[in-house]
């Protein structure tokens, strides 16, 4: 029988979504915090600092996916750490074969390039889908506010990139030439009449023309997300490919749920496999068809499989 003084009680409910990750050293863990989109209110940051100082190693780690991780927390303190973080509204994140905390860029409230509210999207996805077991492997979602794509959305299982579709009202155009020069894609050329000529096939939906136009002759007539699926990094990287365009911001959660549904079903019996590898196996048309049933206006007509990145090590390639 264990000595009463040495009996440790831990609320196992706190561990259900993961987020407590074993460190080197007896009894020590990393506690990964839930920070959707990387935005942190200052009072919460202060609370985290307080808890980290009390229970951690004297430093924290800013994770690659925008989390703050408390290091070297003794597992006997899990309940206290969870409770004290909770006083500041801070929750613990997830790990394992679950929907992870979404990442996002700063969005459109203060960043001049941002086209859509990625912060709101990250919060909503976190609220509705965080920790959902996938039965197979991790599932990462990311939101970029524009085609600069600082969050590298296409390296996620589902990656969202803010997009607008521009349209020109020639009556308001003063032929200043700014849009032609501001378009990085050569999608706007100056026509013989001195007015801009738009080549839609070259447009990557960044909205620079709308932003620079002095008379608002260029207008944003559609706004939403360019959606890529099947990305991952790690040992065998894949870059996700295009499955939808101009997906409205308010249909993001529903879209991810539909992708998850397909993944759960098609990956059954395949072991620990990411959705990108399932798409390589099933072919992208199978997923396109599944998604088209619910999102016919936004799913693209055709796409390509996730793109394999050759790492040049292993399997005797070199």
């Amino acid at each position: 029988m264990a000595d009463d003084n040495k009996t440790t009680t831990i609320d196992l409910n706190n561990l259900k979504a993961g987020g407590f990750i074993k460190d080197q050293g007896k009894d020590l863990f990393t506690v990964r915090l839930r920070v959707p989109g990387g935005r942190m209110a200052v009072p919460r940051l202060k609370k985290i600092a307080e808890v980290a100082e009390k229970y951690g190693a004297g430093f924290v780690h800013l994770s690659v996916r925008q989390s703050i991780e408390l290091i070297n927390v003794n597992f006997k303190n899990f309940d206290a750490v969870t409770a004290e973080l909770g006083e500041g509204g801070q929750k613990v994140a997830s790990c394992g074969a679950r929907v992870r905390v979404p990442t996002a860029c700063g969005g459109c409230e203060y960043n001049p390039n941002g086209l859509v509210d990625t912060q709101a999207a990250a919060l909503e996805v976190d609220r509705t889908l965080f920790g959902t077991p996938t039965d197979h492997h991790k599932f990462k979602v990311s939101f970029a506010g524009c085609p600069f794509d600082c969050p590298k959305s296409a390296t996620n299982d589902v990656g969202f990139q803010g997009a607008i579709w521009p349209e020109l009202d020639l009556d308001d155009c003063i032929s200043c030439g700014l849009c032609t020069k501001s378009c990085s894609e050569g999608a706007i050329e100056t026509g013989e009449d001195g007015k801009p000529a738009f080549y839609p096939d070259r447009c990557t939906y960044c909205g620079d023309c709308v932003k620079v136009c002095p008379t608002d002759a260029w207008k944003s007539v559609k706004k939403g997300y360019t959606v890529r699926i099947g990305g991952k990094w790690g040992r065998h990287p894949l870059v996700g490919t295009l499955f939808a365009t101009f997906l409205p911001e308010d249909r993001v959660v529903e879209f991810i749920a539909a992708v998850l549904g397909w993944y759960k079903e098609k990956a059954a019996g395949l072991g620990r496999i990411r959705i990108g590898d399932v798409i390589l196996k099933e072919g992208p048309d199978a997923l396109l068809t599944h998604l088209r049933a619910t999102f016919p206006e936004y799913v693209v007509a055709k796409t390509i499989p996730p793109q394999v990145i050759e790492t040049q090590v292993g399997k005797g390639q070199l």
Binding site: P112, I174, S175, C176, G177, L178, K181, S182, S184, D208, K211, V212, P214
Partner: protein
């Protein structure tokens, strides 16, 4: 019209210099800015528009651009 040569001045210094130059003129007055190709000619016009000023035109010169901006008052 005043001409401010911002060639060889990188972002964001060129934008800040343009802002300072616009402070020196009256509302409704135009100022010409000479800008390098690349980031400067993409960023400066948009940022000045974002500050409430009115871009009037962009002309390509010999290896640079001339941006005309009308100062808009408070």
């Amino acid at each position: 019209m005043k001409t401010i040569d911002l060639r060889g001045v990188s972002c964001p210094t060129n934008f800040v210099k343009a802002k300072l130059a616009l402070e020196m003129v009256d509302a409704g007055e135009g100022v010409e800015f000479l800008l390098d190709d690349g980031e400067p000619v993409k960023n400066v016009p948009r940022s000045l528009k974002g500050e409430g000023h009115k871009p009037l035109g962009l002309k390509e010169g010999d290896g640079y651009y001339t941006l005309t901006i009308e100062k808009v008052g408070e």
